[in-house]
């Protein structure tokens, strides 16, 4: 294979894959496997090699080429289901998830393996379909993981996704999202909570191809120790996609001088009559708030954790499934306790 993406490539400026893993290790990685738990009306099949034609980034294309087999999940018209994908064997993996017209799916992804993983997932949401997607990546300073999603959203459909990343040697989540039909909606949110040695990069590419579609993004990053958090988001509004509504917010909290956060929201508008806003800010914990809490008896580490939790609150609140949200909170709180210990 050709050279791995590295910091000379604009899209990979903050995430140097070549520095994290040998090209040989990528080329020889096995095919990944998931342990799949289904409920409701979801069909699971082997994914033939010819299927899956999503728009992926560099590594997603590599994954699609290496993974000879994959999984294909299908929710029929008007049906409902939930899927839990647990990555159980690292390597190159590929999946296609199709949610037909008026159907709804809650998709949960977790991983229990380290090493090198490179996953390409294609998601197709049919007209008026509802998708709630939550991915959690545990802290693992040894592993290199790349996930590349290609998502197409039809008219009136909603794709709502949350990405909680606790840091790896290198972690890259790439989202290529196309709002293809009138009134399509995408709501992305995520938290990265990084301790010493952690890295997490979320890169989103959202294209409004149809009119009156809505996209929101809310990402919060906390970086402690020597770690690096990255958010790059680009929203493109195509010509004629009038009435597009897009909001993009990314905020970072730096806990020390060895931590780094890079936020890069971008907007490209080719249509008239659109509502677009983006913002990014990096800061420190507010000393006034810290003193207020301590003066009321809350010890410093606990006060710091409380303020960090507060910082993440609105992003985690985007998870609408109550049980999953509670579980994500418990993992976030454990990560914050480590950061403040």
């Amino acid at each position: 294979m050709s050279a791995l993406p590295n910091r000379r490539v604009e899209d990979w400026k903050y995430t140097d894959l070549r520095n994290a893993i040998e090209g040989e290790a990528v080329a020889s990685a096995p095919v990944a496997r998931w342990s799949v738990t289904l409920s409701g009306t979801v069909e699971q099949n082997e994914l033939p090699e010819i299927m899956a034609r999503g728009t992926h980034g560099e590594m997603g294309t590599v994954a699609a080429a290496h993974a000879k087999s994959g999984i294909f999940l299908h929710v029929g018209k008007g049906e409902q289901g939930t899927v839990h994908l647990e990555l159980s064997n690292a390597g190159h993996g590929r999946a296609l998830i199709v949610v037909e017209e008026g159907a709804s799916l809650t998709l949960r992804e977790t991983m229990s393996v380290g090493d090198f993983s490179n996953i390409a997932i294609e998601i197709v949401a049919g007209p008026n379909a509802q998708l709630h997607h939550i991915r959690e990546a545990n802290a693992d300073g040894e592993s290199v993981r790349v996930s590349d999603y290609s998502i197409r959203i039809a008219q009136g459909a909603t794709y709502r996704a949350h990405f909680a990343d606790f840091g790896a040697k290198l972690s890259r989540t790439e989202l290529h999202i196309a709002l293809e039909g009138e009134g399509a909606e995408v709501h992305l949110s995520g938290v990265s909570v990084l301790g010493d040695g952690g890295h997490a990069d979320v890169t989103t590419r959202v294209t409004h191809s149809a009119g009156n579609a809505q996209s929101t993004q809310l990402f919060k990053l906390i970086a402690g120790g020597k770690s690096r958090g990255v958010y790059q988001g680009k929203v493109s509004v195509a010509e004629g996609a009038n009435g597009s509504d897009s909001r993009q917010t990314a905020k970072g909290l730096l806990l020390g001088e060895r931590a780094e956060i890079d936020l890069k929201p971008e907007l490209e508008i080719l249509a008239d009559d659109v509502k677009c806003a983006h913002g990014a800010a990096i800061g420190d914990l507010d000393p006034e708030s810290l003193f207020y809490l301590r003066s009321r008896g809350v010890a410093e580490p606990e006060a710091r954790a409380l303020l960090m939790r507060a910082f993440l609150e609105d992003a985690v609140a985007e998870i609408t499934d109550e049980d999953i949200r509670a579980e994500v909170w418990s993992h976030v709180e454990a990560a914050l306790a480590e950061l403040t210990a």
Partner: protein
């Protein structure tokens, strides 16, 4: 309860308190009055342990212990409470959750058992009613979008909940209309007890019509320049600070 001796305090290298001495016994309510820039807020912050307030010399003893050596949270657990002039807004933390966290943090530091969520809720509700604090307010993020009066009432609610031995009220009357002032003053008066000392810091005499002090101290230029009974507050109101300062010079 509180013994301050010859206290000199600097902020960013500038000396603000210049030999302040003050003694408050349990059961007493003392007022500190002073014009802007006299050192009132510096005194309240140094008692609560805020960073950036450097004690150059002098001592602060609280129940015989060196208060200055304690972290802010330790002071709180030992019964020192400062009702702030400008309570901080903290988005993302609900008021109720904050109250529970703070109350139990103090209890834990004293080796007492936590009170469960329902227990705290019951306790807060009971005390909130008298202060006209609604359930809805308790569900909102801490101080976020609260009016000046709501913030001050919430400070007094905390005082009622934590039951401190020494309460310092910093400009609790600022930004309050007369009705809100009365609610806050009633709340404070309800907490007067023979075991509790209070230090009421204010610019105006108006609050002291409602919270009647046992002693009044006039703070000017970082020192107490005059002391007296509750009538001193009226004298100040009648004469103005300039006259009192001239007399004391």
């Amino acid at each position: 309860m509180l013994e301050i001796e010859g206290l000199h305090v600097a902020v960013s290298g500038k000396e603000i308190l210049k030999g302040l001495s003050l003694s408050i016994a349990a059961g007493e309510v003392h007022a500190i009055m002073g014009p802007n820039g006299s050192g009132k807020s510096t005194l309240s912050y140094v008692l609560a342990g805020r960073e950036g307030y450097e004690i150059i010399s002098g001592s602060i003893r609280y129940r015989g212990e060196d208060l200055a050596a304690m972290a802010p949270e330790e002071r709180a657990a030992k019964g020192v409470f400062l009702a702030m002039q400008y309570p901080v807004e903290i988005p993302g933390v609900t008021t109720m959750n904050f109250l529970k966290t703070a109350l139990n943090a103090q209890r834990r530091a004293r080796g007492e058992k936590d009170i469960d969520a329902l227990g705290v809720l019951r306790l807060v509700r009971e005390k909130a009613k008298a202060l006209h604090i609604s359930e809805e307010m308790l569900k909102r993020a801490l101080n976020v979008g609260f009016s000046g009066g709501e913030k001050k009432r919430l400070e007094i609610l905390q005082m009622a909940l934590f039951e401190p031995a020494l309460a310092i009220l910093d400009e609790t009357d600022s930004g309050l209309d007369i009705d809100a002032l009365k609610v806050v003053a009633d709340g404070v008066n309800g907490l007067r007890s023979s075991e509790r000392a209070m230090l009421v810091i204010t610019h105006y005499q108006r609050l002291l019509n409602h919270i009647v002090p046992d002693r009044v101290h006039v703070l000017y230029g970082g020192r107490i320049i005059k002391e007296g009974g509750k009538e001193l507050a009226h004298e100040l109101e009648a004469k103005g600070y300039a006259e009192i300062i001239r007399e004391a010079a």
